[in-house]
Symmetry: C2
Subunit: 111 residues, 2 copies
């Protein structure tokens, strides 16, 4: 696992990116997908996930829908229209920041 500090500021963007791409996801699904995509190297804890989702919902970036699977419930999140613009800005900001950071660290990060 990485130094916890590195994740700071990126969790929100990770969540938004996944939601924009997949249209609609529930919390647990997000944690699993992050784990899978990064082969377990990045793990979003629930103590970070849920407060972030609730905050994004509160400010109108996300909206929710509760679905019942048997007796269990799932809360699906999706990005609102306003949220899409905000997401795009945040992505752009992170991309630009990483580019600046690379000016100092000279990492080779082409995938």
């Amino acid at each position: 696992m990485y130094s916890k500090e590195l994740l700071k500021g990126t969790i929100e963007i990770i969540i938004l990116k996944l939601l924009v791409e997949n249209g609609s996801m529930y919390g647990y699904e997000i944690t699993q997908q992050v784990k899978n995509l990064t082969k377990g190297k990045i793990v979003i804890s629930e103590g970070a996930l849920y407060p972030t989702l609730h905050k994004l919902e509160a400010i109108g970036v996300l909206s929710t829908e509760i679905i019942h699977i048997g007796r269990r419930q799932r809360k699906y999140y999706h990005v609102s229209e306003v949220g899409k613009d905000i997401s795009a800005l945040k992505m752009q900001e992170l991309s630009s920041f990483l580019h600046s950071l690379n000016q100092i660290l000279d990492f080779k990060l082409s995938s």
Copy 2:
């Protein structure tokens, strides 16, 4: 200026990288070099810089030497032998983290 949160966890590595490369620098010089290298996009505030330098000195990663320029003093920092190993590990960790992050965000970050 970027969202402050993005810098979290990277300031220490930025400082170490510059010190490893330049051998020896003083605080103010570090802030200026970061500003120059990133065209003003990344700015390390003094409230972040000095506590970090002091912490790294306290744990033996950095050692210091005070030089007098006229009546003014400069405190030069350089990376100790142990510090070099720790720096390398931290660089590796950040590089790996960014690679994982890229698995989700698909940025094109080749410089």
